[in-house]
Symmetry: C2
Subunit: 310 residues, 2 copies
């Protein structure tokens, strides 16, 4: 099956912020999207929740062509029947997801992929909820899902994983595959490792919250938006590249790793984190901060089209 | 003293890649730049080394106005005399830098700032090389220095630190201040912490080198180019922001930190890192990779002008 020769049919289970972002993303790229939510109110709010993401998609990917259809489904069966990909965005609870999978599985097409957006849970925890565990993959988007291209994928049926990757690429995503199931997938492990050291620096009084964020945005964050961490050491290694870097600085790198810290989220540290982001926000409320973030992400994504990353 | 009312006079000590990037940056923004290097050949190559950075500066900051002067100095005295800021880019050796400082100090103007670009060394290690340690600051740029805006600053004389910040801002930099001297400053500590987890995932077979780099570039790296790590948790915390995040997920965050790994740079891991970046480079040599990086950085910097980061 090749996309976009044949537009995929997508089921979105759960019409919260993540579900609405997925729905907007797939519809914008021409897929037929069917949305279901156990709460009638949430389902009814889907269109309103998709409005901003759809407007942003038009800015990021104006070339996507004609939009697909959107159907709000009162029953799970309606949403799931005939779907190529079922994107599940239920609460992060193993029993809740298992119960949902038990309802979904009988109505899945034989080729269908059940994809969990889970951030905190793993394939190994979720797949026992199906009679055919291989029909499940984890497909974790990075927030906000319609703007940040990454989708981290783990599954055991290679054909399903490949079909899922094709569908996510059809929707302008960058699927990245894990070789082994892991808590936090890739990106949240990296983010968690970085934030641990950031909080350690706050705890030790090395720098303020807002100084650390400014250093990240104007230094490594900017560079990591165009160049991977491994590749950065390759380019930093001189003519010998990564091999030269490891030969000359490998031993000192292990010492530098040993010098990094493990903070404690004590009352004092928590208070300083809260005060620090308040100083950094400088009176801007959540919606203002999010609007600034989204506008900057859209500009960065547009810049990539002319000048691709390494 | 206010810049740019009065263009600063800059001395660049060491005409290697970092020195040439500093020289191009300051000259482009209208400062008068005097360059010295102990090796006559390196000094003679300064103009050639500045060519590409100067061309890139014209793309990034076309609004900068008329360029300053460039003088290649045969003697250290000529370079340093009358300079407001002396940017030192000597090899990362305490004795070498101390010896240089001993030669520089007698010719420094009373208000002058001696700023070390050091990456690996600290203010506490370097300042004993001066009779007046307060005249030294560390001012670490992030590679490539003329494109990545961050300059990390530590010093003990607040007036000098403030004057240095004004000069770096004059040159379009984003100075970020440390409250306490620390190995790796801020950015390299963050980069080191992130890479440790990246190498751990390679060691554990969770994901390939190139998959981890792709996840970073298309996920957290992109987001950190517009939004700091602390602020990302603030926005991810729902209406309660950072406070809500810490209240609900603080304990599980400490567990997640405990689940992160410490890799060993064993022969096998090193071989996999080298093989991984080779796959990722896909035949592109260093200069091609650097050109792609620089083009993407320039596009990202231009995008920021219309849509500033959070």
């Amino acid at each position: 099956m090749t996309y976009p020769k044949h537009s995929p049919q997508i089921a979105i289970l759960g019409a919260g912020l993540i579900g609405a972002a997925w729905a907007a993303l797939f519809q914008h790229h021409g897929a037929d999207v069917r949305v279901w939510d156990p709460a009638a109110e949430a389902l009814a709010a889907t269109g309103a929740r998709m409005k901003a993401p759809l407007a942003q998609m038009a800015e990021v990917a104006p070339e996507a062509g004609s939009m697909g259809s959107l159907t709000l489904c009162d029953t799970l069966t309606d949403a799931v029947s005939g779907a190529d990909l079922i994107q599940e965005n239920a609460p992060e609870s193993i029993p809740v997801k298992h119960a949902l999978y038990a309802e979904v599985e009988p109505f899945m097409a034989p080729h269908a992929i059940l994809a969990s957006s889970t951030s905190a849970l793993t394939w190994s925890e979720l797949s026992p909820g199906l009679r055919e565990p291989d029909h499940l993959i984890t497909a974790h988007p990075f927030n906000p899902p319609h703007l940040v291209p990454l989708v981290e994928i783990y599954g055991t049926d290679q054909a399903r994983v490949e079909r899922a990757e094709a569908i996510y690429r059809f929707a302008g995503r960058v699927p990245v595959r894990l070789k082994k199931d892991a808590t936090g997938h890739i990106a949240n492990r990296l983010a968690s490792a970085l934030w641990r050291e950031a909080v350690f620096m706050v705890q030790e009084g090395i720098a303020d919250v807002e100084a650390i964020d400014a250093a990240l945005i104007n230094g490594p964050g900017l560079r990591w938006s165009v160049l991977g961490a491994h590749m950065a050491y390759h380019l930093g290694g001189g003519p010998g590249g990564m091999e030269g870097y490891l030969a000359h600085l490998g031993p000192s790198q292990e010492r530098r790793w040993a010098a990094l810290g493990v903070p404690s989220l004590s009352t004092e540290v928590q208070a300083e984190l809260v005060a620090g982001v308040a100083r950094e926000a400088a009176g801007r409320d959540m919606s203002e901060l999010e609007a600034t973030r989204d506008k900057a992400l859209i500009a960065a994504l547009r810049a990539r089209k002319d000048a691709p990353h390494v």
